[in-house]
């Protein structure tokens, strides 16, 4: 019976094979290559930990900066996305809800490279942000400064990833059973309280998924730190590109890559553990 079932599904597996091979050859193989060569001494051909000591010595500060920037951006995305999705779900002024729905999505389809260029002009010392604040009298011209450093990267990441997270979370909230929300509302509970105590626990799986995907996307972004941060300290992706393009030093670059894989691995582990603790299948 089992063999019959297997034989029936063989044609399907054959249809699947080319795409599987593609991911295997062009992603899994280079990924394993990268993990292994982080421990490779390419001058002598042996295996050692020297790449890591060198990577931590040269780029220890950048590793911390990467951790702080990606975690802070992810946290901001989480808080703002829940706020937007919550208002879209519980808001009572239909015109405000419609306006919010129309506005918040725009950055989602804007490429990262373009978002970085927008922020380069917007957050510069002479950019529109400073100009507007000065016109409103909120900022003295002498205090005007450029935000084009790690802060600019955080702003760009949040600006770009917020709609994605808000879209996923509001989708999950929209498919919830509304009766519990309405009865709590009838009992006089405030909307903030309904959001935090009734709505949020039911969509927590979606919140985690959207935050972890955002976190990995931010860890992968090369164009944003490259365009927004001039010089150092900068982020790991820029260091990797620099190591490879200027020195041909794949050892240290792969050691830095290993660190970024470890960060996304930790995020994935955290997510899976969260899913187990909630006793459900991670979606």
């Amino acid at each position: 019976m089992a063999t019959l079932r297997l034989r029936k599904s063989l044609p399907l597996l054959a249809l699947l094979m080319p795409a599987l091979l593609m991911v295997g050859l062009l992603f899994v193989y280079p990924l394993l290559f990268s993990l292994a060569y982080a421990f490779r001494d390419e001058s002598s051909g042996g295996w050692y930990l020297g790449n890591f000591t060198k990577a931590f010595a040269l780029y220890g500060g950048d590793i911390w900066l990467t951790v702080v920037v990606t975690l802070l951006s992810t946290a901001l995305v989480g808080v703002l996305a829940v706020a937007i999705a919550g208002y879209l779900t519980l808001g009572e002024n239909s015109r405000a809800v419609a306006a919010l729905r129309w506005i918040y999505r725009w950055p989602m389809f804007i490429p990262f490279v373009v978002a970085a260029q927008l922020m380069r002009t917007f957050l510069a010392k002479s950019g529109m942000l400073n100009n507007s604040l000065m016109s409103l009298g909120l900022l003295e011209p002498l205090n005007a400064m450029s935000l084009l450093d790690w802060r600019g990267v955080v702003v760009t990441f949040v600006w770009k990833q917020l709609p994605f997270a808000a879209l996923l979370i509001s989708g999950a909230m929209a498919s919830m059973d509304r009766s519990l929300m309405e009865s709590a509302r009838g009992l006089g509970a405030g909307r903030l309280r309904i959001l935090l105590e009734i709505v949020l626990p039911q969509v927590s799986a979606t919140v985690w998924v959207s935050l972890i995907l955002s976190f990995v996307t931010m860890l992968s972004a090369l164009s944003v730190p490259m365009m927004i941060i001039a010089g150092s300290p900068t982020m790991l992706t820029v260091d990797m590109a620099w190591r490879v393009n200027s020195y041909g030093d794949y050892g240290v670059a792969n050691a830095l890559g290993f660190v970024s894989f470890a960060m996304s691995g930790l995020a994935a582990w955290f997510y899976l553990r969260q899913g187990l603790r909630e006793g459900g299948q991670p979606t």
Binding site: R5, L6, K8, S9, L13, L15, L16, A19, L20, V23, F27, V28, P30, F33, S34, Y37, A99, L100, I103, Y104, R105, W106, P107, F109, I110, P111, F112, V113, V114, Q117, L118, R120, T121, F122, S126, M128, L129, S132, S135, W159, L192, R193, E197, P201, V216, T217, S220, L222, S223, M226, M227, L236, T237, M240, A241, A253, G257, F258, S260, S264
Partner: protein, 280 residues
């Protein structure tokens, strides 16, 4: 988590104040979303703009003719980008249509594991992978070629292509295919005349997704494309790092148009029932 120990303060805001607050918050969000876009649009038509002037000193389209001059390279980069995007879409569909069809069948063993496998390129930071792909491609003579860049782009887009194709095929009921088979159609003929046309809108959506991913892809092109393949994002990076705000902004606008068009039209192709079953 319970908040009972921290009862939230119930405050009633008078109607006008709460309307004002709502208006201010939405206005702030609109400024944050559209401010950077507006700033970029102004730069595309600014001929001279120096600190501390709040607006350009001289307006005009002088930089547009510079961008579109053949020697500027932007037009060549645009055509390279479009060519690579079309090739990437073709390759992705060739791989994703059979794979998506297979994954739409619930009886496929290890189905959810295969679905997760295609997510791998999105679940790991890509820069370290891309630089090693470039190293492997170098040995194969694929670096600096359009083919090499196409392969890297296809990997990034494949999860969307496969998942959307699978959802699109799954949304077709078995009945119509059964009916065609009962009328004597071969499996291939039933697929070509029934399943494929019915799944076409979803496949169109996946093609658009892949096209945009390819158009915007940066780090793969950065490592694999050097030194000969220059796509629009790389051209924009160079203009920006050279401090040429006008050229960079005009290039950014060129990259932005397809994305905005996509946002306006995607809902027409991606029906809600398909969207709801993506990745399931």
């Amino acid at each position: 988590m319970t908040l009972d120990r921290f009862p939230l303060v119930q405050f009633r805001v008078p109607g006008i104040a709460s309307s004002l607050l709502r208006f201010a918050l939405i206005g702030l969000l609109a400024a944050a979303v559209f401010g950077p876009l507006l700033n970029m649009l102004i730069w595309t038509v600014a001929e001279a703009w120096y600190f501390p002037a709040k607006l350009p000193i001289r307006w005009g389209f002088a930089f547009w003719s510079k961008v579109f001059r053949p020697e500027a390279g932007a037009m060549k980069a645009l055509s390279t980008s479009l060519l690579i995007a079309c090739m990437t879409v073709a390759l992705s569909l060739v791989l994703a249509i059979p794979a998506g069809y297979a994954l739409s069948k619930r009886k496929l063993p290890l189905r959810s594991l295969f679905l997760l496998f295609f997510l791998l390129p999105q679940a790991f930071p890509t820069v370290a992978v891309h630089m090693n792909i470039a190293r492997i491609f170098y040995g194969l003579g694929l670096t600096g070629t359009i083919w090499g860049v196409m392969l890297v782009h296809a990997i990034q887009g494949l999860v969307f292509a496969v998942w959307i194709a699978s959802a699109a095929f799954a949304a077709i009921g078995e009945d119509q295919v059964e009916a065609a088979r009962n009328l004597g159609a071969t499996p291939l003929r039933a697929f070509m005349t029934v399943s494929l046309p019915l799944a076409a809108p979803g496949l169109m959506a996946s093609a658009i997704f892949v096209f945009l991913i390819s158009l915007d892809e940066f780090s793969g092109t950065f490592f694999v494309g050097v030194p000969d393949v220059r796509t629009l994002p790389l051209t924009m990076l160079n203009a920006a790092l050279e401090g040429n705000y006008q050229i960079a902004s005009i290039t950014a606008l060129l990259l932005l148009v397809p994305s905005i068009l996509f946002m306006l039209f995607v809902e027409r192709f991606l029906k809600a029932d398909v969207l709801a079953s993506v990745g399931k």
